[in-house]
């Protein structure tokens, strides 16, 4: 970012918006990590903390929306600034939704903590790590305006989907073998599904970053199921 806006207050507004988005992204990253740890470690207290912290994420969505509207109305941004603002408006919606997915997982964690452990949850932890990494990388691509990093997020989503499918099939077998596990296995299955969706949102962010930097739309370019 060698060149800055002549109007320093405008430059500051754009900088503040970027910071807010990153802060919100950081909160969502922590939420997803916390929610899955709560599942794996059967920690209802941690799950509850994740659920309560989501209020902050929701408030930030409203604040960032307002900041974007204000800049659009008062500054009439053009070119890359315009793409940044319209991207920010969309990114917050995805981030807020990702926060909600973390809350959903945390709710399952509360439930699961009250029943006996079902099985080792390595794969769920790995899926969480992949989802978290996807978000971290998408945010990094956003801050550094790096479309190459964003493309890596798109590619990584296939691994995420494959791992989800593996977990799904595994849990299905568990349920067939012992119907008493159905309630717990379903909770885990939902958690895995939420993580897979979380990864899809990270993919959305990455696509938006590519648009923001290059001005070309890569959404719906490959036929996804």
């Amino acid at each position: 970012m060698a060149k800055t806006h002549i109007d320093k207050s405008y430059e500051a507004e754009l900088g503040a918006l970027r910071e807010q988005l990153l802060e919100m992204g950081g909160l969502v990253e922590a939420a997803i990590a916390g929610s899955v740890r709560a599942v794996v470690e059967r920690d209802a207290v941690l799950a509850d903390l994740v659920i309560r912290k989501d209020k902050t994420v929701n408030r930030m969505e409203v604040d960032i929306d307002g900041a974007c509207r204000r800049i659009l109305a008062l500054r009439q941004p053009a070119a890359s600034d315009l793409r940044f603002i319209t991207t920010a408006l969309k990114i917050v919606t995805d981030l807020e939704r990702m926060g909600d997915l973390a809350v959903n997982i945390a709710r399952r964690a509360v439930d699961l903590a009250q029943a006996p452990a079902l099985q080792p949850l390595h794969d769920l932890g790995r899926l969480a790590a992949l989802s978290e990494a996807a978000l971290a990388k998408a945010l990094d691509a956003f801050v550094t305006a790096d479309p190459v990093k964003a493309e890596e997020v798109l590619e990584a989503d296939d691994h995420l989907d494959a791992l989800y499918l593996k977990i799904f099939n595994h849990l299905l077998t568990t349920m067939m073998e012992d119907p008493r596990t159905i309630r717990r296995a379903t909770s885990l299955m939902f958690s895995a599904k939420h993580l897979e969706r979380f990864g899809d949102h990270a993919t959305n962010l990455a696509e938006m970053v590519i648009f923001m930097v290059r001005g070309t739309d890569v959404r719906h370019s490959k036929n996804k199921a």
């Binding site: 060149k3 800055t4 806006h5 009439q76 053009a78 070119a79 600034d81 315009l82 793409r83």
Partner: protein, 253 residues
């Protein structure tokens, strides 16, 4: 939709005042029946570019031009081209409204016709031009009043009506709203949208939002060079040239 034909083709246009090159080898085309906006910082050559198109530039002592400007395929600088006739085909509206102050509204509009020796009753033409300039309803009961009695915005639309009276094909506008308030500006911009059905319009403006609002094509000039020309939407959402990007986003050059 087919792409509109080019009304004007500018090739390697260089404009020189004394020893200063104000425009350097500008090549671009201006599509017919559309609005082309020229943007760029002060001194970039916008107005000079505009004034070359109807040879007003050559009225400045020491000014000369290289390259060619083809209007419907014919070089406007040809020996056989009468500049007065050219300026009838390529009319101009200036930054500050410049009606003939003591002349009536009616006489202002018909002045071009009279100067060009066109005789007869001009009333019908005057009404038509005032209607086209979206001024008729406001002045129809005071056609004999002096032009100076009109508001600034009305005066500018009167000047547009005056320019239209000689039935030009191209209308050049040099910052036509910089002396007008936002409402008068909106009226002129609305008028530009109406006029492009019949005329090819080239507008120079310092107001980038105005260029974005009124034009189909935008050209960015910087220090006498044409940096980028493209569809207005592309220039303001995704310019190709970093210098255009910096200019439209308001960054240091």
């Amino acid at each position: 939709m087919t792409a509109p034909a080019d009304k004007i083709a500018v090739e390697r246009l260089t404009a020189i005042f004394g020893k200063t090159e104000v425009l350097r080898s500008v090549t671009t085309s201006i599509p017919a029946m559309s609005v082309t906006a020229i943007i760029g910082p002060s001194g970039c050559g916008k107005s000079t570019f505009l004034r070359c198109l109807n040879r007003m530039h050559e009225l400045t002592p020491g000014a000369r031009v290289e390259g060619s400007i083809l209007l419907d395929g014919q070089d406007v600088q040809g020996r056989d081209v009468d500049p007065v006739h050219l300026r009838r085909r390529v009319g101009m509206v200036f930054q500050r409204p410049n009606p003939f102050p003591t002349m009536s509204v009616l006489d202002n509009v018909s002045s071009g016709l009279r100067l060009n020796g066109i005789k007869g009753d001009h009333q019908a033409t005057v009404e038509q031009c005032l209607r086209q300039a979206a001024l008729w309803d406001e002045v129809k009961d005071r056609l004999r009043a002096p032009a100076i009695s009109l508001s600034g915005g009305q005066q500018q639309r009167l000047c547009i009506a005056r320019a239209l009276a000689v039935a030009p094909e191209v209308l050049l506008m040099d910052e036509p709203t910089s002396a007008l308030d936002p409402i008068a500006t909106a009226k002129v911009e609305d008028l530009i949208h109406e006029l492009k059905a019949r005329y090819t319009i080239v507008i120079v403006t310092h107001n980038m939002q105005q260029a974005a609002r009124v034009s189909d094509q935008t050209a960015f000039l910087y220090m006498g060079e044409l940096v980028e020309v493209g569809a207005t939407e592309q220039i303001f959402t995704n310019p190709r040239e970093p210098r255009t990007e910096d200019y439209v986003t308001g960054k240091f050059g």
